[in-house]
Amino acid sequence: MNEHNVIRVEALSKTYDSGFQALKDIDLDIRHGEIFALLGPNGAGKTTLISVICGLVNASSGRVRVAGHDNVVDYRQARRLIGLVPQELTSEAFSTVWDTVSFSRGLFGKPKDPAHIERVLTSLSLWDKRRNRLITLSGGMKRRVLIAKALAHEPEILFLDEPTAGVDVELRRDMWEVVRGLRERGVTIILTTHYIEEAEEMADRIGVIRAGELVLVEEKRELMRKLGRKQLTLQLREPLERLPDSLDASRLTLADDGQALIYTYDARTNGDDDPSGIAELLAELDAAGIHFKDLHTRQSSLEEIFVNLVREAP
């Protein structure tokens, strides 16, 4: 077992009985203690992937290991480590918050521990509601209950399938607070989301899934570096046929039949006076006798990277 990879997904495929292939040959390693965000449009296969790992859906081929345990053969050892917060709000309508959370702990084979249940409920602001029946709770409160249920057996790996869908700002903040606390205790967290800012804010690594294929897995910092890239476009007075030799061709490209000059720079570079190099560029252009009539800058966002990835024809 590789100590750093708490979950290993190897060549995993899933074809539903309908004949629809929801997962195509997925390979993915989740590292111990990280927050991994799985991004993808509706129907990409995020829930299916999570469901196979957690044992709710049978894989068609491939295998999953959780802390070295095969999730089919050694399902007990594998599942003991996992807590799952499903995408859909589901609940035993008539039981109370306290009972349903205690039930989850017992179901996972852990001895009673009211102090732990109390901690979990308090951290999710559910303590006041512990005697309420689930049917009387609002949607956001039910979502908290599902999170509490998943945490009741002190899992080492937590799956959150779209935890912030239909959730207000306050709960979102609460939830991230809880997630950060868990992470500090060494819990590995895998979450799916449609909100890129959320992945940006929380995740250590980001995976993008499209039509059942994992098209990208990268450190968030690496993606942020791409995000930090900016472009300056200069509309030239006179079209250029080629770049003058005096200019740095590695950061400049001609576009629009030579009518535009595009300069790519890193907005985060920590220079002193001229971090972007724009002032220098403009001086060089002036020296080369190149004049422009207009200019604008734009930032290539993670959103853009994401949308491009997702739109690309399979």
């Binding site: 799952l84 179901l107 084979g109």
Partner: protein, 253 residues
């Protein structure tokens, strides 16, 4: 064996019944009492003894069986159907429990409830007619085996059903007719020979007969045949349940 998990499932199922204690206990008691009033007291007084016991006493074992079968099937089928219906079954499927443990929790709770109900109905019956129990241990054995077997059957129905209609279809179209035609209210000796032969294909006949034997030391078929049929039933239900879990039928896509 993960006893903590089994206990949790069992207790949760039992307390679910406690929440609906009125529906769970009062209604079978009332309906059984009505049977006694109508069949035992009103009609029974006009019927002379059947096989050596008063008609009122004769129908006691059959009525308990009738209640046991319908309650076992409906309890167990609702028990597993609801989490499937509401989606909360995800938790059970993702828990570190074996299928056997899940069945033990759900079916164990349903069967326990049925046995308790059976004893309550027995007590209710004793208020209406005097009767004796010749073989109390055999009686208990039958009670438990039948409750277990039909709770398993209910569990299977609860997994097979994809809507409330189907959930009620089997009890309504299969269990109730078979029970009514299973010698609850009559001895099959009373039927013409042809119908006697047909009736012997009805498994409920063996259950009622064996159960009646434990009360009065006599039945329509031998006690061994009764035990054989219930054993066969139990074994095939277990086989179906284990197939369901191995294949993931209706539980895992």
């Amino acid at each position: 064996m993960n006893l903590e998990s089994v206990k949790t499932l069992y207790v949760a199922e039992m307390s679910r019944s406690l929440r609906t204690v009125l529906q769970s206990i009062i209604s079978p008691v009332i309906s059984t009492s009505l049977y006694f009033v109508v069949f035992g007291a009103a009609i029974g007084t006009r019927i002379s003894e059947v096989a050596g016991v008063s008609y009122g006493a004769f129908i006691v074992p059959g009525l308990i069986m009738l209640m046991l079968l319908t309650q076992s099937v409906s309890n167990a089928s609702f028990g597993i159907f609801f989490p499937r219906f509401s989606g909360s079954i995800y938790e059970i499927l993702s828990a570190p429990v074996s299928y056997f443990e899940v069945v033990l929790g759900f079916v164990g709770a349903a069967a326990t409830k049925s046995v308790i109900l059976g004893l309550i109905v027995l007590g209710t019956a004793s208020l209406f007619v005097p009767f004796s129990i010749a073989h109390p241990l055999v009686m208990l054995l039958f009670l438990v085996l039948t409750a277990l077997t039909f709770s398993l059957l209910g569990f299977i129905i609860g997994i097979w059903a994809d809507g409330f209609e189907k959930l009620q279809l089997v009890p309504l179209l299969v269990i109730t007719p078979l029970t009514f035609l299973g010698g609850t209210f009559y001895s099959i000796d009373m039927l013409p020979p042809f119908w006697q032969a047909v009736t012997l294909a009805n498994p409920v006949v063996y259950l009622v007969s064996g159960f009646r034997w434990s009360f009065y030391g006599m039945g329509d078929v031998s006690i061994w045949a009764s035990l054989g049929v219930i054993g066969l039933f139990l074994a095939s239900s277990l086989a179906v349940v284990s197939w369901i879990f191995r294949s993931g039928y209706r539980l895992k896509p």
